[in-house]
């Protein structure tokens, strides 16, 4: 049996509400809130980045896996906001956990599906017997361009999964990936903010590839929609995943546990991984879970998991996803948010 043996989440404590952002840009907050099904988003502190989030999520995953981190044979960090353009985030995570030096490491990028990519690769490495434990993390602190629609949702957070064959808490039943070359959303080298194709990012990008991922994995596994207690889709806003669920014939009952975006925002590479972590926090043995990520460019990774008896034993071993999401958030005004996110031009480079 191959699957997830430990999982963990981390979300920074700061938040900013849609109204705060709309006020500055003269936009109509209620219509953004309704259109995006979004109230607020998380904001990383000036001392937080993809590496710090990844380390904390990974520490939680190690607590649940109950393994000596020295046994981790591969570390993959997927993000659109790696702190360095050249120098991996994964090496810092591996060092922090003590997984070095017998460890493979690679940083991944594929817009919002960079986290699930690591899971796809990690599962395969474990299946092949090449490593005992593989760690995959999706984490981001992506920026939204000021005044752009994406500024309301670009948030920060991450989730980590340790994969192996012993003491599996969520068995992997199937994995599948669907991908085309589609320029829906991109960022050129040296540019600070991404650009996107507006409404083109809907039908031809998100909906096409999530549908492709879901239909593909159902066909590959022989499973039906009704078999799943939980579904988790990539969640750039609240509208897309709920509309996708409806189009594909899934119910609110199935998607609501893993839908964090209304109070979290879009954590990009962390989005569907965090949704999965929130589901695993609550799932009961025997529950089947379908996860399908989406990354612009474009593609989807899909997975089917089945919770095992061991899941109940590990859920309380680390702080849960909703603990990070809901406990004592600190709300910022736009000025403080802009300062934290370094959107303000300053004279001095070092400060």
């Amino acid at each position: 049996m191959v699957g997830i043996i430990g999982f963990g989440a981390y979300i920074p404590r700061f938040r900013i509400k849609v109204e705060e952002i709309a006020k500055v840009w003269g936009a109509d907050a209620p219509s953004y809130k309704k259109g995006l099904m979004l109230e607020q988003k998380s904001v990383p502190g000036p001392d937080q980045d993809t590496i710090t989030i990844a380390v904390e999520a990974a520490r939680n995953a190690v607590l649940r896996a109950g393994i000596d981190p020295a046994g981790i044979g591969a570390v993959y960090v997927g993000s659109e906001s790696h702190p360095y353009a050249v120098k991996p985030s994964g090496t810092a995570v591996a060092e922090a956990l003590g997984a070095v030096p017998d460890c493979h490491c690679a940083d991944l990028e594929f817009a919002c599906k960079a986290g699930s990519e690591g899971m796809f690769l990690g599962m395969a490495l474990v299946k092949s017997g090449e490593v005992d434990y593989a760690l995959a993390i999706g984490a981001d602190t992506s920026q939204g361009a000021p005044g752009d629609a994406l500024e309301y949702s670009a948030a920060a957070g991450g989730a980590a999964f340790i994969m192996g064959k012993d003491n599996v808490v969520a068995e992997l039943e199937c994995q599948y990936s669907f991908m085309t070359d589609t320029p829906d959303f991109w960022r050129r080298e040296h540019m600070m903010y991404p650009k996107h194709g507006g409404r083109f990012t809907g039908d031809e990008a998100y909906f096409k590839h999530v549908r492709g991922g879901v239909e593909g994995i159902l066909a590959k596994s022989g499973r039906k929609k009704e078999d799943f207690k939980y579904i988790v889709f990539h969640q750039p806003n609240g509208k897309f995943p709920t509309r996708m669920a409806k189009k594909l014939g899934f119910t609110e009952e199935q998607y609501k546990t893993g839908l964090l975006v209304p109070t979290l925002g879009n954590t990009y590479s962390g989005a569907s991984p965090l949704g999965l972590a929130a589901v695993l926090d609550e799932a009961k043995p025997g529950d089947r879970i379908l996860m399908c990520s989406f990354g612009s460019g474009a593609g989807s990774d899909a997975f089917i998991f089945k919770a095992t008896d061991k899941l109940a034993q590990v859920q309380d071993k680390a702080r849960k996803t909703r603990y990070y999401l809901d406990t004592n958030p600190i709300y910022l005004d736009y000025g403080m948010y802009a300062k934290f996110r370094k959107k303000i031009h300053k004279n001095v480079e070092e400060d």
Binding site: D47, T52, Y84, A92, E95, I330, E350
Partner: protein, 131 residues
Amino acid sequence: MLTPPRIRRETPQRYRLEAGKCKKCGEIYFPPRLICRECQGREFETVTLPGTGKVAAYTVIRTAPTGFGDQAPYAMGVVELENGARVLCQVADCSPEEVKVGLEVHLEFRRIQAEGESGVLAYGYKAVPER
């Protein structure tokens, strides 16, 4: 003076809280030392500091040194960890008024310094109040 050799050398302490425990008298040193100041012992074992403790002294830095301006005001504390060892670090994710002697905290992995826009990043620990 954030240079690559220093960052690399200090990683076991900053990333993994690795300390040295005197084999003779049990005194804990963070960072590890070569000789025990209590018993003059020269043999140590590596131990990991616990990640939880209490604030023993604190302040709120309002005039920050270069490189920390964007974070000001920020609280700093001497944190006494559960095994008696103490560290000095920022107390993050809270309003400065919340920090008091006796506040329970745990240590989280954070970016401590960056060498401008193009230089190396230095990571380490900060204390976060238990909630």
